[in-house]
């Protein structure tokens, strides 16, 4: 303790003159604003420091690269959202709460026709109405936009034709909402109605007037927007497998059902810059779209994200009404606010695609999954939105968590004259996941094997590659299954409960961040960037573009910074609202924010910490390597009495520059294969989950009541267990809605019958069962402190778990969602007729007789559990690819080892031979450029 100085209880007094006068440049400002609630800082809490760093925190899966940055502040503690005070006091400003002085109210004229050509629009009468300040039509904005650069097919308002009931035709800004509504009726539009299509299978056919014209890229003359083919593995041999499950699923379209309707406020400020306030998941895409639609450079636009009243993917497209507001505001010279009625929310939609999925799962005599063959036709509605990606996700996201012998996927997305489908929580993975998991239960039934055991005996291990080349790092799938099996009492309940009571299991697999940024090459730009700024007050301001949509991304980023800098959360301030101040961020979708933004934030915080530690070194004379960051205090690790306060060190660090700033970025490592479409589904990490649901089915009415759900989700590391549990339970609620009650219903005339919250049946508190959230931490090597996503993946398993539980309860398999009582009842009736039973209460109760295979699989599951542990702890570093279970050598290309092994993304005529397969029909068309008949 020879060098350094002991921190004095108060500022040094020897500099002070006793005569009350100050010495120039020697003023004491060591403790401005002191008076904190806790005058004593605390040392690091040894119990929260990982054992890799000499602390006492157990790490069952070994050390993590971020361990040295754990200071024990917030990570892993249940943390209230940093913006929750705004929300509970009613001070959180959502889209419609932005009220600028002198505002006008905008309303949108929408198409009354499914599909029609616009012959003429006359707005003169509307413009003449007193109180109307601006009227705009598609003529005012001819530039296209869309969330994906490859499929820009939207306009602010219809150009030549309207494509669905509710499509935007014109808009009005007026002094009041009443006048604006009135003015809409003064706009005269002449339509020439065209034949519309509503059934997705009609979209596969040639049409005289396809809903869009993609020029030389158009597929035949059809309404096929995107088609995908992928074939990997032994796709021929799998058809000979002894156990086969084939089902044909129908999934209704879904809406996100967020409580806040879309709203936007646009204002061209006196400097001619557009200020756009909008509740958005993807402010940066809006920024880009506005720029190209309005022909205004991006620096002339400031996109301000308001609080977002729920997104779930429904606010992750740039929207035409945002363009409308900007155009009206420009025309009128005044701020314009547009707030949607609930019905309009359904017109803009972007919900889950209505889908028809033919699912075939094959299992061999050894109880392995010989192959999965999927044909998915998805109904995109009138616009592309995220559909390009959805078409891939319906297939590629079921190549894990199981090791499979073959993968054959045909997918197609068609345009129909409906509101556009898009991305919704669990994007593209939910429907086909449900079909896979139910099919697995079906083959288990045929094999006489417990579906829990079957799953445990067929899991891919940690650190492996899937059949299409996804790089899996951490996986907690096995632990998830083990936990739900144990906690639900599975072994005592499966096939053992009375008729009407059932239990079922389902698994899930989801991306944690999309590997490729949509708008740029990851080689050039990172996925996420975070700036930190520390001023004389000692607090740290975080600038990030990550959109907090209620999931708590602001909180997660604040926690990451707080953890590295050992500062209490209230000293971290998040500025994530404005594109003017935020570094570019792609937005809140594909479960990317926690993984990517927190990683960027950690890097920025490490940089800042280095600067502060160097300053502390100058003050106390100990090298940063021997300094420890405690709570607002930096001290010498061998004598905590030697140290400086955070503020003193910060001031020292600012001494020359007056500023203390740092920046961090994250980009994904190189991953994946090289085939066409290889990028779809690539992610730096994947989340896994397994749920068990227990249900009660009333055979007389078809009502299903979920009694309890055990929901285990591997989120890598729960940065904030409170938020993770909230996400798990919330996902269950949404998924149970999809499986039991929610659907967008279209009537015989093609109209959406339930564009409101009364007939769009979101579960009330009464239908919601108790959910037991189980957090599994697989400690992802690249995740921030080991974390992965927890917002979307937890939705997937609840659907198949419920469907499988229904089977366990009454022995009836359903393949149409939602399993509304009327649908289930008619399935029960059919079953009764087939079995010659009069009263549904006499249905036979399904039973389970284990076959010889059961013991084999139990043994294999045990061996695999050992294998996985070795790989997890990096004791086993051998490479592993999907196929090892089938005897392949992982270090040699698989096609070399077996003649029948295919890796192809272009179908042969034989692949498309089955006339019953729907999406396959999309391949019967030839692209115009390949026909060379484009004009």
């Amino acid at each position: 303790m020879s060098k350094g100085y002991r921190q004095a209880p108060s500022g040094s007094s020897d500099k002070k003159r006793k005569d009350g006068k100050r010495i120039a440049g020697k003023q004491d400002f060591g403790v401005p604003g002191s008076g904190g609630s806790n005058p004593y800082s605390e040392l690091q809490d040894i119990e929260r420091i990982p054992n890799s760093q000499g602390g006492q925190l157990e790490q069952p899966r070994g050390p993590h690269v971020h361990d040295p940055h754990i200071t024990g502040q917030t990570i892993g503690k249940a943390t209230p959202l940093v913006d929750s005070r705004w929300k509970v006091t009613g001070q959180a400003e959502y889209g419609d709460d932005i009220r600028l002085p002198n505002e006008l109210v905008g309303r949108i004229l929408r198409s009354p026709h499914h599909y029609a050509r616009i012959v003429s629009i006359d707005t003169s009468a509307a413009e003449a109405l007193p109180g109307v300040r601006a009227v705009s039509t598609g003529m005012d904005s001819v530039n296209r936009f869309g969330v994906l650069p490859v499929t820009k097919d939207e306009h602010a308002m219809a150009q030549d034709k309207v494509r669905h009931v509710g499509d935007l035709v014109a808009c009005v800004a007026a002094e009041s909402e009443e006048i604006a509504i009135e003015a809409l009726s003064y706009i005269h539009v002449d339509y020439e109605v065209m034949e519309s299509i509503h059934d997705m299978e009609d979209g596969l056919l040639d049409s005289e007037n396809p809903i869009h014209d993609r020029g030389k890229y158009h597929i035949g003359e059809s309404n096929v927007q995107k088609r995908v083919f992928q074939q990997f593995g032994h796709t021929d041999a799998m058809h000979d497998a002894p156990f086969q499950s084939k089902s044909d699923w129908t999934f209704a379209g879904l809406h996100h059902g967020f409580t806040e309707p879309h709203a936007v406020v646009a204002h061209w400020d006196p400097n001619g810059r557009l200020q756009l306030y909008t509740p958005q998941q993807v402010p940066h895409y809006v920024h880009r779209a506005l720029s190209s639609v309005l022909d205004v450079p991006m620096h002339q636009i400031n996109v301000i994200r308001t609080f977002v009243g729920g997104g779930f993917g429904g606010k992750s497209d740039p929207f035409p009404h945002e363009m409308c507001a900007a155009i009206l505001a420009k025309k009128s010279g005044r701020p314009v606010r547009i707030n949607f009625d609930r019905e309009e929310v359904y017109w803009i939609n972007r919900g889950r695609h209505p889908s028809r999925i033919q699912m075939e799962v094959y299992a061999d005599e050894k109880g392995r999954i010989a192959g999965i063959e999927t044909d998915a036709l998805i109904d995109g509605g009138a616009f592309a939105s995220f559909g390009h990606v959805t078409t891939y996700y319906n297939g590629v996201l079921h190549t894990s968590p199981y090791e499979i012998g073959g993968f054959h996927y045909t997918g197609a997305r068609v345009w129909t004259n409906k509101p556009a489908s898009g991305a919704m929580r669990g994007h593209g993975a939910v429907n086909s996941r449900c079909a896979v998991e139910v099919a697995i239960d079906d083959v288990c039934e045929q094999m006489g094997v417990d579906p829990m055991t079957f799953r445990l005996a067929n899991l891919l291990p940690p650190h492996c590659r899937t059949i299409t080349g996804f790089r899996i790092t951490s996986t907690g799938m096995r632990e998830c299954l083990d936990e739900v099996r144990k906690q639900s009492g599975w072994d005592d309940k499966f096939r053992k409960m009375p008729l009407g009571r059932g239990i079922g299991v389902g698994c899930g697999f989801f991306i944690s961040g999309s590997g490729l940024p949509i708008h740029w090459d990851p080689e050039n730009f990172p996925h996420a960037t975070v700036h930190l700024q520390c001023d004389m007050d000692g607090g740290v301001t975080v600038h990030t573009g990550a959109a907090d949509i209620g999931q708590g991304s602001d909180t997660a980023v604040a926690q990451a910074v707080s953890e590295v800098l050992a500062l209490p959360l209230d000293m971290i301030r998040i500025r994530s609202r404005e594109s003017d101040t935020a570094p570019v961020d792609l937005g809140s979708y594909s479960s990317r924010v926690t993984f990517m933004n927190c990683n960027a934030a950690i890097r920025a915080a490490i940089e800042l910490r280095e600067k502060v530690l160097n300053a502390a070194w100058e003050i106390i004379g100990y090298h940063p390597d021997s300094l420890v960051l405690g709570d607002r205090r930096i001290y010498y690790k061998r004598d905590p009495a030697i140290g400086v306060s955070w503020l003193q060190a910060v001031h020292k660090a600012q001494a020359d520059t007056g500023s203390l700033i740092a920046s961090g970025a994250y980009r994904t490592p190189p991953m994946g294969g090289v085939h066409k479409g290889a990028a779809a589904g690539l992610a730096p990490a994947y989340s896994f989950s397994a749920y068990v649901a227990e249900v009660e089915v009333d055979p007389e009415t078809g009502f299903v009541r979920v009694i309890k759900a055990w929901a285990a989700h591997d989120c890598g590391k729960a940065l904030n267990p409170l938020a993770v549990e909230g996400q798990i339970i919330g996902s269950c609620h949404m998924g149970m809605g999809q499986v039991l009650s929610e659907e967008m219903r279209y009537g015989r005339t093609g109209h959406l019958l339930n564009p409101d919250l009364l007939d769009y049946k979101i579960m009330s508190v009464h239908e919601m069962p108790e959910v037991v959230p189980i957090i599994v931490e697989s400690n992802d090597p690249e995740g921030p402190f080991g974390a992965k996503e927890a917002g979307e993946g937890p939705l997937l398993p609840i659907l198949p778990a419920v469907v499988n539980a229904i089977y366990d309860a009454i022995g009836v398999r359903v393949n149409e969602l939602p399993v509304s009582p009327d649908r289930l009842y008619s399935t029960i009736e059919k079953q009764c007729r087939k079995m010659g039973i009069k009263d549904p209460l006499d249905l036979p109760n399904p039973s389970f007789e284990p076959s010889a295979l059961q013991a084999d699989l139990e043994n294999r599951a045990k061996e695999h559990a050992h294998r996985d542990l070795q790989r997890d702890l990096l004791k086993d570093r051998s490479s592993y690819v999907n196929g090892v279970l089938f005897g392949f050598d992982p270090d040699r290309p698989l096609p070399e080892q077996s003649e029948g092994w295919r890796e192809s993304v272009t179908p042969t005529p034989e692949d498309l031979a089955d006339p019953k397969k729907r999406a396959a029909r999309a391949w019967s068309h030839v692209e115009r450029r390949k026909r060379r008949d484009d004009a």
């Binding site: 009354p112 026709h113 509710g166 109209h751 009330s764 009464h766």
Partner: protein
């Protein structure tokens, strides 16, 4: 959403309300009554059959009277649920919509609930896109969208929960209007079709319902079909009341709702069942008879075939108390 403009009148006595209505009739001004507003205002926001005047009954003290056998039209469903009336009514009241709706919605409003149909309960823009419908044709003479090629009958569905319960308790409904007051059995209050709904004349409104003293001796049950326990209107509903004797039943009444344009009491089927009452097996026969009598159409959330079949199950369950 905005309602089209209207003038709200808030009379404080029944007479004042009646005079107001008479005056508006004389001036040929259209008007609606409003009590809780949960049905009317939702329709007005969708611009459905709006009127330039609305007379609110909410300030009429007399209409809030609430006793064991007297239920004022302005008694809120929440109050009914926790009130002194027959347990059957309390039970049924507690199942209506959500607790928030029940705090506003009233007994009178529930009895006079507008009939519903998914071609009709939509916004103005939506209904324009189907060229309107018979029930709200905006003077276009539009056809019915449920059963096309007929425009003489509206088949919209009455989805109130209280009416069938009051029917089986043999309640009387009391009306006031420019021509004075009148009373009738609640079963006679309803009149086809989906637009007429009931026998109220222009300017007339429900003041209260009363249940007979004898209803104290009745047991009863109400069973309804709705997807969710909150918010949803019934898709089918069965109310039953009975009096048990040592040997069987001496009274049995069954009424159904939410399957047709008006609620319906099934006198003959119930009578027939009483003749040779045999407990559970008779309930199954009655249930089947009721299913045959009721003919729902496709205009609510569940398909009509299912609702019909469920009527059988609901009836069976509603009658469980007769033999168990």
């Amino acid at each position: 959403m905005k309602t089209p403009p209207f003038r709200l009148h808030r009379p404080t006595t029944i007479d004042e309300a009646v005079n107001l209505a008479a005056d508006l009739v004389k001036r040929k001004q259209g008007f609606d009554w409003v009590s809780g507003g949960t049905d009317l205002l939702a329709n007005y926001k969708w611009h459905i059959n709006t009127q330039p005047h609305v007379i609110s009954l909410a300030s009429i003290e007399e209409l809030t009277r609430h006793g064991a056998h007297h239920i004022g039209a302005m008694v809120r469903l929440h109050e009914l649920e926790h009130g002194p009336t027959h347990p059957l009514l309390r039970k049924a009241a507690g199942t209506i919509a959500s607790t928030l709706i029940r705090r506003s919605a009233t007994v009178g409003g529930n009895l006079c609930l507008d009939t519903r149909c998914f071609w009709f309960n939509q916004t103005e823009d939506w209904r324009r896109s189907i060229d309107w419908c018979h029930k709200c044709d905006c003077d276009t003479g539009a056809d019915c969208r449920v059963i096309p090629n007929q425009n003489t009958l509206c088949v919209a569905t009455y989805q109130g929960d209280l009416a069938p319960c009051l029917m089986v308790l043999d309640a009387t409904i009391h009306l006031a209007g420019p021509e004075g007051v009148r009373s009738m059995s609640i079963a006679d209050f309803y009149a086809l079709d989906g637009m007429t709904r009931n026998v109220l004349k222009t300017g007339e409104f429900v003041t209260h319902v009363s249940t007979p003293e004898e209803s104290n001796d009745l047991d009863g049950d109400y069973q309804k079909l709705s997807l969710r326990e909150s918010w949803d209107f019934p898709e089918a509903g069965v109310a039953a009341a009975w009096k048990r004797t040592d040997t069987g039943l001496s009274t049995l009444r069954i009424a159904t709702t939410a399957c047709e344009s008006i609620p319906r009491i099934h006198l003959e089927s119930a009578e027939a069942a009483l003749v040779d009452w045999n407990g559970e097996s008779t309930t199954i026969e009655v249930a089947e008879a009721i299913r045959r009598e009721v003919k729902p159409v496709n205009n609510t959330y569940f398909p009509p075939a299912y609702r019909r079949k469920m009527l059988r199950v609901l009836t069976k369950r509603a009658l469980k108390g007769t033999w168990m």
